[in-house]
């Protein structure tokens, strides 16, 4: 592998082990996850924060501007709050109105900019944007929590702590768009800026500022309801509020369409694990930090609620496995030879996939100095690997397929169940969907995401070509295999590029694909609502923008107990 590290004594886990849907669907956030990378930077570099505009009426309708500044550059969240009738509230992408809509503006917007945004942002996809806007987003209130928090604060008391913690957010984002959508800035515009060069940093910044807005909004509504009695949220409770998110199939094709990018994410995570496993010994302080994490992890998992028939039964098992870790880890980590590797191997033999992957996250946690630099390698220029090497021989391409796509060659695609699903784009909302090939129309318009089936077909076609023929000549006869040839060539050089499972089988759980991606974002509390969409939480327990300059901007995700400020937050109005 071209990313191999000569200093690493323990090798990377093989792609056949890592890139299976069952394991990807058990991934948890790590310290390399994108929102954690962003907050570490903001805390370390002490970005400046201001809220120059907060112009909302007593119903909470109006707009606000949140600005962070790093050196010569500023980024501003422009938030528009609306009065949405309850019957219009849906998290699905088919919605046409939202409780709040947002744009991340590159700089500090003038009143002219805000007026232009006010005419477009509330319309979301139906609006048009300029390259001065980096991200577009929207959010809906959590019916469960929003109103009860407003009412408690208005009456002068704090909301129920348990309810705040178990819901975990006041609003859910239902879409966060970047990279040129609807006229927004192309990624090229920000790719060279150190602070936004990492994957999805502008999107994560947007969501973090939206979270601050949701708290300001409930405090504002409480004051409007009863200006004499109303109180602000206690800092400890405020920290318990993250931001929710509902994610559906629209996100799934991304992982398949960006093979070199996905390789870079997975390779960074796997390299981090290999570095830790390769350590000759475990320093007492590192060991102690790891052991202190385990009860925090248990509390985090205990807060994780889901009714999903697959995910729900995994959670009590995971809790029991954390107890096993607590019993086994002290002795394993006292070992004189590669203690972290011993712990990992124990996990592989003992724990469920959920437990194994949580152990990976926990093992990386006390090793920031050893692994954090890997976050810098999670961005790639995808055009580099794009060009097909037409001089490769048919024999070589066949060999590469046999080496990297054994999973596909083992599948029997003549079985209806192996090809029952097809991915398509719906006319109504221009979003990716999954259909039943044998029961619904549209399979002739299938998206090229049936990788296993297509590679299997390519392998067959190559079998009837002369082994010495060049791929270029083969493709002049078979242009229909061109996209698959490109994938095979990319995957041969980027071993973690490919999900090594059938993406069109009747047993596909698309939420596994979504979870893998969301874990890299840094999401927690995965709550599948069907096999095709799920809810998650971001930034729960994270510091707020008005806390820059103090507190823990690194380990916050494992719980507030040790890091929450005791004093009231600074007044930001």
């Amino acid at each position: 592998m071209d990313d191999a590290e000569p200093m690493t004594a323990v090798g990377l886990r093989p792609p056949d082990q890592v890139m299976r849907l069952a394991r990807l669907g058990a991934f948890h956030q790590t310290r390399l996850s994108f929102l954690r990378v962003l907050l570490r930077r903001i805390g370390r570099e002490r970005w400046q924060y201001a809220r120059p505009v907060f112009d909302l009426d007593d119903r909470g309708v109006g707009h606000a501007v949140y600005t962070v500044t790093r050196g010569p550059r500023s980024y501003s969240l422009v938030a528009f709050a609306h009065d949405l009738p309850p019957q219009m509230r849906t998290d699905r992408v088919i919605a046409e109105a939202w409780d709040a809509t947002f744009a991340l503006f590159d700089g500090v917007p003038t009143t002219t900019d805000v007026a232009r945004l006010a005419a477009n942002v509330p319309r979301q996809e139906a609006g048009r944007y300029l390259a001065s806007e980096l991200v577009l987003a929207r959010a809906n209130r959590s019916v469960r929590l929003f109103e009860s928090v407003v009412e408690s604060l208005a009456q002068g008391h704090q909301p129920d702590e348990r309810q705040v913690g178990s819901t975990g957010y006041l609003m859910r984002t239902t879409a966060v768009y970047g990279n040129g959508k609807f006229g927004l800035a192309d990624r090229d515009r920000i790719a060279a800026r150190e602070e936004l060069a990492g994957p999805f940093q502008a999107e994560m910044l947007t969501v973090w500022l939206i979270r601050a807005f949701t708290v300001d909004l409930v405090e504002h509504l409480a004051r409007a309801r009863d200006s004499h009695r109303a109180v602000r949220l206690l800092p400890r409770l405020r920290r318990r509020l993250g931001i929710g998110n509902a994610t559906g199939l629209g996100m799934a094709p991304f992982l398949v369409r960006h093979p070199t990018l996905i390789h870079s994410w997975i390779a960074a995570r796997e390299t981090a694990l290999a570095r830790v496993r390769s350590l000759a010994s475990a320093a007492p302080e590192t060991r102690a930090r790891f052991l202190r994490l385990l009860p925090k992890a248990r509390r985090l998992i205990a807060d994780w609620r889901t009714d999903d028939p697959v995910q729900a039964p995994r959670l009590p098992i995971l809790l029991a496995e954390i107890s096993s870790m607590e019993r086994a880890a002290p002795e394993l980590l006292a070992s004189r030879h590669r203690p972290w590797d011993r712990l990992y191997k124990w996990g592989e033999e003992t724990l469920s996939l959920e437990g194994q992957e949580l152990l990976v996250s926990l093992m990386l946690e006390p090793h920031g100095a050893l692994v954090d630099d890997l976050a810098g390698g999670m961005t790639v220029d995808e055009t580099v690997a794009f060009r097909i090497d037409g001089t490769m021989s048919v024999r070589q391409l066949r060999d590469d397929i046999e080496r990297h796509y054994a999973f596909a060659l083992k599948l029997d695609f003549s079985r209806a169940e192996a090809t029952r699903r097809f991915w398509y784009v719906s006319e109504e909302k221009l979003e990716p969907r999954l259909g039943d090939r044998f029961a619904e129309p549209g399979a002739d318009l299938e998206l090229p995401l049936a990788i296993g089936r297509d590679v299997s077909a390519l392998h067959r076609a190559l079998g009837s070509a002369s082994p010495g023929e060049s791929v270029a000549v083969f493709l002049t006869r078979h242009p229909e295999h061109r996209h698959t040839v490109r994938r095979v060539q990319i995957a041969s050089r980027h071993p973690y590029a490919e999900i090594r499972d059938n993406l069109i089988g009747s047993d596909l759980r698309a939420v596994d694909v979504l979870r893998a991606k969301l874990s890299f974002f840094g999401c927690t509390r995965f709550d599948p609502r069907s096999d095709k969409w799920l809810r998650i939480t971001l930034f729960q327990d994270a510091p707020f923008p008005d806390e820059i300059g103090a507190g823990d901007w690194d380990g916050w995700i494992w719980g507030v107990a040790e890091s929450a400020p005791l004093a009231a937050p600074g007044v930001t109005t």
Partner: protein, 201 residues
């Protein structure tokens, strides 16, 4: 109207598919379209011409097939390539440009009346480069690959705020792209995105 380079690339891919190109060709067309947008060429007009050409399936005069053949083989085998006649030669130019994006090489593309030198991030032309989009056919085309990038070539406008295109062209491309969309049925509404549980809580 103003569109981002990413929108150009995404719509080019779908419109090319809607026009009947194989997926792998669509990817090449999308990459070439982005290169065109980066050079400030009117890629929407260029795409409309390419994708609505009634002879677009004719492989021997297809600039996409020519660009693919060049990109797949020529770079490392033979320095000179020739074609007798190609439609919409801007697409050959753009596909070569996209293929050279990360190469320390440049290509000279010439036919009677035109001489264009390009590398992955710039160009130099004997005629008005913008007019290249409107050239319908070219004959006796010769492409020569040379080492080194090109000093003093026009630089691409990558950091720009996108590209201005005609709304009529853009709509025509959206109509082509719409041919790849599957109309919603009641069944797909209920199962296709996995709704069914309440999401207003």
């Amino acid at each position: 109207m103003r569109v981002s380079h990413n929108e150009v690339e995404a719509l080019a891919m779908k419109a090319a598919r809607g026009a009947g190109f194989p997926w792998g060709d669509c990817e090449e067309i999308a990459a070439a379209a982005r290169w065109m947008a980066e050079q400030g060429l009117d890629v929407a007009r260029g795409l409309c011409a390419l994708l609505t050409d009634p002879n677009r399936q004719e492989r021997s005069s297809c600039p996409v097939a020519a660009g693919i053949a060049w990109s797949d083989g020529t770079i490392s085998t033979s320095p000179v390539a020739r074609w007798q006649r190609l439609r919409h030669p801007v697409w050959l130019v753009a596909m070569i440009g996209a293929a050279l994006r990360h190469k320390l090489q440049h290509a000279e593309i010439a036919w009677p009346g035109w001489r264009i030198v390009i590398h992955g991030r710039g160009w130099r032309a004997s005629s008005d480069f913008g007019a290249l989009v409107d050239v319908r056919t070219a004959s006796d085309i010769e492409v020569t690959l040379r080492p080194g990038i090109l000093a003093g070539a026009g630089e691409m406008s990558s950091a720009s705020g996108g590209l201005g295109v005609s709304p009529a062209d853009w709509s025509a491309l959206e109509r082509l792209a719409a041919r790849t969309h599957v109309p919603e049925s009641q069944a797909s509404r209920e199962t296709g995105a996995g709704a069914g549980t309440s999401d207003n809580d």
